[in-house]
């Protein structure tokens, strides 16, 4: 049977659908000039403020109140006792927290080395070393959301696999930003899953954000995202959050679609943040997810969700260590306020408590 003799596409890039043409006169509708598109918007430099771009200068920087997420972290040592005599057990504990074999081995070796150096012996001392180690490895300067470059609207693209909590995270973030005094627009670019638009609409409603809906069912998500940028610019919004459909990272076509969304959005705006939402229950596949999304979507941060369960989310340790992508947000429940900014020391303290 010859069905298998079709050649495979050697160049998947070619499958990418053509970009949407934007009528030129439509662009002219905006009073504001098009923000400059930088080749690598992730590493944004402070752009010289173009006065006319900024509607209200005092609103440019979104000030984010502090929040803690202590309620989300469960101790590593609830089921297995921390045994100072047998540090190899620690490896098991870390593996069970989804740190992965490599990271667990590395952490244990390091704890042992430091303990030897400082002569630490007691449980408290060793736990302190462990906490210190995790904190050091997770501490980053670029932990905060990148909402201060001055180029409005700040575009936050939210990506991830199916069912990790993208929509819920967006709802919480929108509510939070709205409360902080920002004008938020949400683009419902998940046009695939049944009733996804209605779900994000409910969250938009709760958070007081403006929603840009697809005009037709199954509309090209990139075009919805583009309309989002138009609305955000026209209404002088501070933040545009783009919801995307969940996609498994091994689906090439869907990943290409994400790339297209990026490119289309960058015609009008600079993308300030690309948040990869990772479910805390995710195992080692989280690393594969992060790699794939980082490559296609240029992920700038991770939002770790569902930390209110029994899962520890240890995979973020490897994601940050190996890929250099910091955890920025944390989700700890289904309520609109169950959300916080990640803090390495808090995370580490919670784990060893």
């Amino acid at each position: 049977m010859g069905f298998l003799f079709w050649k495979k596409k050697d160049k998947p890039e070619e499958i990418v659908a053509p970009e949407i043409e934007v009528p030129a006169e439509k662009k002219k509708l905006f009073s504001k000039p098009k923000p400059k598109v930088e080749p690598q918007p992730v590493v944004e430099t402070i752009v010289e403020p173009e006065i006319e771009v900024l509607p209200e200068p005092e609103k440019v920087e979104v000030v984010l109140p502090k929040r803690t997420f202590a309620k989300g972290i469960k101790s590593l040592f609830t089921r297995v006792k921390f045994d100072p005599e047998n540090l190899d057990e620690l490896e098991d504990v870390l593996i069970q927290a989804d740190f992965g074999v490599d990271a667990a081995e590395q952490i244990v070796a390091e704890v042992k080395a430091r303990a030897k150096k400082t002569g630490a012996e007691t449980e408290t001392e060793l736990k302190a070393i462990l906490a210190e180690l995790i904190t050091e490895n997770l501490t980053r300067d670029d932990r905060e959301l990148n909402l201060s470059s001055g180029q409005l609207p700040y575009v936050v693209l939210v990506v991830g696999v199916n069912g990790v909590g993208k929509t819920t995270t967006i709802g919480k973030l929108a509510k939070y930003l709205s409360e902080a005094g920002s004008k938020v627009v949400i683009a419902a670019a998940d046009t695939f899953r049944a009733a996804a638009v209605e779900q994000i609409a409910t969250w938009a409603d709760r958070s007081g954000a403006t929603l840009v809906r697809p005009k037709t069912e199954g509309q090209d998500p990139a075009s919805v995202a583009f309309e989002g940028t138009e609305v955000a610019i026209a209404t002088q919004a501070d933040v545009l959050i783009i919801d995307t459909a969940g996609r498994l990272q091994n689906k090439v076509d869907l990943m290409n679609e994400l790339d297209k969304i990026r490119r289309v959005v960058e015609k009008n705006c600079v993308i300030a943040e690309v948040l990869l939402v990772i479910d805390a229950t995710t195992g080692q596949n989280g690393m594969v997810q992060a790699k794939a999304f980082a490559e296609v979507a240029k992920v700038t941060g991770v939002a770790l969700t569902k930390l209110d369960g029994t899962a520890k989310g240890g995979i973020v340790y490897s994601i940050q260590r190996d890929l250099g992508i910091p955890v920025k947000l944390v989700g700890v429940g289904e309520g609109i306020a169950d959300f916080a900014f990640f803090e390495a020391s808090e995370f580490a303290r919670g784990l060893v408590s």
């Binding site: 069905f3 495979k8 499958i15 074999v101 779900q199 995710t282 596949n285 569902k306 369960g309 289904e334």
Partner: protein, 494 residues
């Protein structure tokens, strides 16, 4: 599915294969690799420990020493233990003796319950049942709405008296749903519940209440195959909190190694009944522990493939086709016909992924362009009946006409004709018994076997530019992706 774990074990066994006899040290080294592979595949630590322990015990026992081929033995042991943990034989859905069968779905948030509800309904409907979906997830915004859309797509009635979004009592809805189903004579009731955490006592007790209210024949625990070590805790929590009768593994079309399957089966002792493999309503199949285990060992999921093929393929037609191939009467017309039958089987990518050795060609698979099939179809359809039957008559001007007619180029037409001729030649070899192993595995469908080889050879030609004039030899050169002729089988010395 399990691709990476398969890859790891294959790698481990490569070293093993070269040795004539196993020493205790060999076994330990192998077991270390297996342990690591399983942990990286997210199998829960406690399950890994038990698993590795069991294998060591058996591998060190007399069994292995008596064996002619030690590698073969270890593979077999690993395979058997995997099947053992995965729940032995496949279990079918339990139906009620009288009245409607009630199936309750439970699981964490985002595990895929609502999507699964639709697939399950569609599947049951295809089997002649009359399912009704019950919207008892009144928590998540627009979950009710989503279920309604899913139900509409599946062509199944949805019982949704409450709008949800935090309002309404799921227990009451479930109770009413049973009455509704009895009155309207639905044969199966599928209750979609809200996602909940194992440690959320309030919601777990609500789930218990729903269970009490509907007295289900099956409580299916829906779990994401990407879940890590927490699978054990979650599964225990649902087993203790609600009581489950079976497991459904979702998102298996991803590249997660899916160790959760082993963890959950192992700690709950409950069988995995279904596997969900994509976003389409048809991307759903019964879970076969034995097949999954051989898949872990990179033996491919050939049995699933056959079953799917049989669903769509007429046995008589297949036999006729085989005869044609043997007599060298296989034409482009037959080919077109086959293509249409194949299209009924669903996505080509999914189909290919089930082949043995597919783990090693995952990336190529992902880049497989389904449109290619449409283009090929267009080219054949642009040919006259004579041309289809005798591709030899295709001269330059005919080829140009076909290219124009099908919106392709002459190069594409040429390449199709060339590949067809080669494939036809290859199929002939196969039909004559060139691939006895495959023939044995696929009774009544020798043409499927031929197809594999066609692909292999084609790949071979495209990628490596083999110069071998012997098609069977060319296929053999490409063993990495065609284990049919000694790929996965003989790579373990099986």
């Amino acid at each position: 599915m399990f691709g990476n774990l398969s890859d790891r074990l294959v790698e481990t066994f490569k070293n093993l294969r070269s040795k004539g006899k196993l020493s205790a040290a060999d076994i330990d080294a192998t077991l270390r690799e297996i342990r690591r592979a399983l942990l990286e595949a997210d199998v829960a630590l406690e399950v890994v420990k038990t698993f590795v322990g069991a294998i060591r015990e058996r591998a060190l026992g007399d069994e292995v020493n008596k064996a002619l081929n030690p590698a073969q033995q270890v593979v077999q042991i690993v395979n058997e233990e995997l099947v053992n943990i995965l729940g032995g034989q496949q279990r079918k859905l339990a139906f009620a003796k009288t009245g409607p069968t009630v199936i309750m779905l439970a699981g964490l948030q985002g595990s895929g319950k609502t999507t699964l509800a639709g697939k399950l309904a569609k599947w049951l409907k295809d089997q002649g049942q009359t399912p009704v979906l019950v919207a008892a997830d009144l928590q998540r915004p627009n979950a009710v709405n989503q279920l309604q859309v899913v139900g509409e797509r599946a062509g199944v009635e949805v019982f949704a008296p409450e709008l949800g979004n935090g309002k309404g009592d799921p227990v009451k809805v479930s109770k009413e749903a049973i009455k509704f189903a009895e009155k309207k004579q639905f044969s199966v009731v599928i209750v979609d519940t809200a996602g909940r955490l194992g440690i959320d006592e309030e919601l777990m007790s609500q789930a218990r209440d729903i269970r009490k209210a509907v007295d289900p024949d099956e409580v299916l625990f829906v779990i994401d195959s990407m879940i890590g070590q927490d699978a054990v805790n979650v599964a225990k929590a649902f087993e203790d909190g609600v009581g489950i009768t079976g497991v459904v593994l979702t998102k298996l079309d991803g590249d997660a190694r899916g160790g959760a399957a082993l963890s959950v089966s192992s700690v709950t002792g409950k069988p995995i009944i279904f596997a969900s493999t994509g976003e389409g309503l048809d991307a759903f199949e019964p879970f076969y522990p034995d097949r999954m285990a051989s898949r872990i060992l990179d033996m491919g999921d050939i049995l699933t493939l056959i079953e799917q093929a049989q669903k769509q393929f007429d046995d008589v037609e297949a036999a006729k086709m085989a005869e044609k191939i043997a007599k060298n009467e296989f034409t482009l017309e037959d080919f077109l016909e086959q293509m249409q039958q194949l299209k009924k089987m669903g996505s080509m990518k999914d189909l290919l992924a089930k082949l043995p050795g597919a783990g090693q060609m995952k990336n190529q698979l992902e880049n497989f362009d389904e449109k290619e099939i449409d283009r090929t179809e267009a080219i054949i359809r642009s040919m006259t009946p004579v041309e289809r039957r005798q591709p030899k008559v295709l001269n330059g001007s005919r080829r140009l006409r076909i290219a124009k007619g099908s919106g392709t180029t002459v190069t594409e037409v040429n390449s199709l004709v060339n590949r067809f001729e080669q494939a036809a030649k290859m199929m002939k070899t196969v039909a004559k018994g060139g691939m006895p192993q495959m023939g044995g595995q696929m009774p009544g469908m020798p043409n499927i076997g031929g197809g594999f080889v066609g692909k292999a050879k084609k790949n071979d030609k495209k990628k490596k530019g083999s110069k071998s004039g012997n098609p069977a030899k060319r296929a053999a050169e490409n063993l990495g992706i065609t284990p049919t002729q000694g790929g996965s089988g003989s790579s373990f010395g099986l």
